[in-house]
């Protein structure tokens, strides 16, 4: 069972994630994005790099997209693929996290031009947080 659901989109790519907390939702979304762009291929764990990320946004939806854009930017521009997320915390419109990346010189499986804000709402129903994210291919 995947931790995310791929949805049909005529031209682009959408996926849905759920989490028991906002932190869990954000973590799963980042891992889903990584799995999509690498086709889930296990990376040879070398050249590990740790980054402390701090992001601020006016609402949780924009914060989620900022977070995913950050993960995508490192993958596309610096060949750094997300490996682990520690201490992800969301408070008062701010996300902080310690992220471990692995250097990857192989081309990505899918080129995502951008993470869009299309129809983006983070829902909280029956104790579950959920969001559907659309990527421009």
């Amino acid at each position: 069972m995947e931790d995310f659901e791929l949805l049909d989109h005529t031209a682009d790519l959408s996926f849905r994630v759920e989490g028991k907390s906002l932190e869990s939702l954000f973590t799963k979304a980042a891992k889903a994005l990584t799995k999509i762009i690498t086709d889930g291929q296990a990376l040879i764990k070398k050249n590990e790099l740790q980054k402390e990320l701090i992001l601020k946004a006016p609402n949780k939806e924009i914060l989620l997209i900022d977070w995913l854009k950050e993960i995508l930017f490192f993958a596309e521009a610096e060949n750094l693929i997300l490996a682990k997320i520690f201490f992800l915390k969301i408070q008062a419109g701010q996300l902080s996290a310690t992220v471990i990346f692995h250097k990857n010189n192989d081309p990505l499986f899918i080129e995502i031009k951008a993470i869009t804000y299309h129809d983006l709402t983070i829902y909280f129903n029956d104790e579950i947080w959920s969001a559907t994210i659309t990527c421009d291919l």
Partner: protein, 477 residues
């Protein structure tokens, strides 16, 4: 949704103005194409576009319309410059994604035996696929900024192509509104190694031939004849443009707006505002990057042909016919209620198709602006020209391609690599791509029939067919 569509004529449909819509919406489509539109969210997206402030006449969709994010792909929206808004979503992430059409002095028979070698040589010369880079080496920040200001002219000054090419590129390959101080360091970082690269997805370099001539007069004026070898190049502003769009969308999202926004991705700001002007300056820089990119690729293709076929430049006769953008916003004058008015025309998956009257001299003053409408890798493409009717009905715009109708995911599930290759082999079309997956995603069945799309606009009198081309060999992104 479909019940709301009213037929204006056999190629044109209207969605009435309801709710927050400021104007009605119109879709150009033959009946079989309009049925396809009803299966995704593209009509709702078109209705959303009609709610944007300052929109004039109609929110328009071309027959290749399909679901995008925010704007539908195949959409045209023209905004009043004083009252209206500019929307990065109305241009898209791949700013100035576009197509160029090149003629040669060769015929298809001249290269038939060399096609495999040619395609392999192109594959080795032009970086393709995901994250492709380093076609011409990494540019310094100073040099990249020169690209952003000078567009195709930068490439020509560096020896990629000829001065005469500029006259046959939309905007002469350079938007003077570009400002490099509106570009983020991340965009510069992403763009530095990507000039001269094709990218992935539906981008391509196609070696083809003129298969049918619809207008003998116009094709003669463009020096095109049956069986003549031609090249089509489709790519855009790569990661640079994506980052520019993203940066400005993000800035706009935190601003207060005084109009209802049905979808965050449609975020727009007043054209006459600092953020509107900043976006337009940055978008112009990305447009210039894309024109330089296609110029460099064209030159690399020419060099590859010369080397691979061992012929001189004169004998090859590489000549750019035209280069069009299909993801862009431009300031243009159009007639609204009989009065000339300056508008900001957004074309998202739509091509400018200006009539002959818009050109003060030369061939285009006689024939109108050439429009290039590529189909998928297994079918056919079209060279058309813009018309007076395009000026009065669609703000001088037409379709941009076949238009996807099947998601990539469904395409991958519906067939396999060998079947796609067999189908192409039966048609004597050779293909190469960085990944097998791309070729499955780009199979013909994933796209609408380009012939229906082009015929809709031809019969509507918006863009007239000049020649049809067919592919011989395709390098996919």
């Amino acid at each position: 949704m479909s019940l709301e569509l009213k037929m204006i004529n056999e190629n044109l449909w209207q969605l009435p103005q309801v709710g927050e819509m400021r104007v009605p919406a119109r879709v150009y489509a033959k009946s079989n194409l309009i049925d396809l539109v009803k299966h995704d969210k593209s009509l709702q997206q078109l209705k959303n576009v009609a709610t944007l402030p300052g929109i004039q006449n109609f929110a328009l969709a071309m027959p290749d319309i399909h679901q995008g994010y925010g704007f539908p792909i195949g959409g045209v929206a023209a905004m009043d410059v004083n009252e209206g808004v500019i929307s990065p979503g109305g241009v898209g992430y791949d700013i100035n994604c576009g197509v160029r059409f090149i003629k040669t002095n060769l015929s298809r028979q001249d290269v038939e035996k060399n096609l495999d070698d040619l395609l392999t040589a192109l594959y080795q010369t032009i970086p393709t696929g995901i994250g492709s880079q380093n076609a011409i080496g990494k540019l310094s920040e100073t040099e990249l900024k020169k690209v952003l200001v000078n567009g195709a002219e930068w490439a020509i000054n560096k020896g990629f192509g000829k001065e005469r090419d500029l006259a046959v590129i939309e905007e002469n390959g350079r938007m003077n509104s570009a400002k490099v101080d509106k570009i983020s360091s991340r965009a510069l970082q992403r763009g530095a190694s990507q000039l001269g690269t094709l990218g992935s997805g539906n981008h391509f370099v196609e070696i083809g031939f003129v298969d049918e001539i619809f207008s003998a007069d116009i094709s003669q004026k463009l020096n095109l004849k049956k069986d003549q070898l031609i090249i089509i190049i489709h790519t855009g502003s790569r990661g640079f443009g994506h980052q520019v769009c993203d940066d400005h969308l993000r800035k706009m999202l935190v601003q207060k707006i005084d109009f209802p926004l049905p979808d965050k991705q449609l975020i727009a700001v007043k054209i006459q505002s600092k953020s509107g002007e900043d976006y337009f300056a940055a978008m112009s820089s990305a447009a210039n990057f894309a024109w330089a990119n296609r110029q460099v690729i064209m030159s690399l293709v020419e060099q590859t042909f010369q080397k691979s076929l061992r012929i001189s430049s004169e004998k090859l006769g590489f000549r750019l016919i035209y280069d069009v953008s299909h993801n862009i916003a431009k300031f243009e004058d159009h007639l609204i209620d009989g009065k000339r008015k300056e508008l900001c025309v957004h074309r998202k998956g739509a091509t400018r198709a200006f009539s002959a009257e818009n050109f003060s001299g030369g061939t285009f003053h006689e024939i109108g602006q050439p429009v290039i409408i590529p189909g998928d890798m297994g079918t056919e493409s079209y060279l058309c020209v813009g018309t007076k009717k395009a000026m009065s009905e669609t703000f001088g715009s037409t379709c941009h391609g076949a238009g996807r109708m099947m998601s990539r995911r469904k395409a991958l599930k519906s067939t396999d690599f060998d079947s796609v290759m067999n189908e192409l082999r039966k048609k004597n079309i050779k293909v190469m791509a960085a990944r097998k997956k791309t070729l499955i995603e780009e199979m013909s069945r994933a796209y609408k029939n380009v012939r229906d799309v082009v015929d809709t606009m031809h019969k509507s009198g918006i863009s007239k067919k000049v020649v049809r081309t067919k592919p011989l060999a395709v390098l996919k992104g």
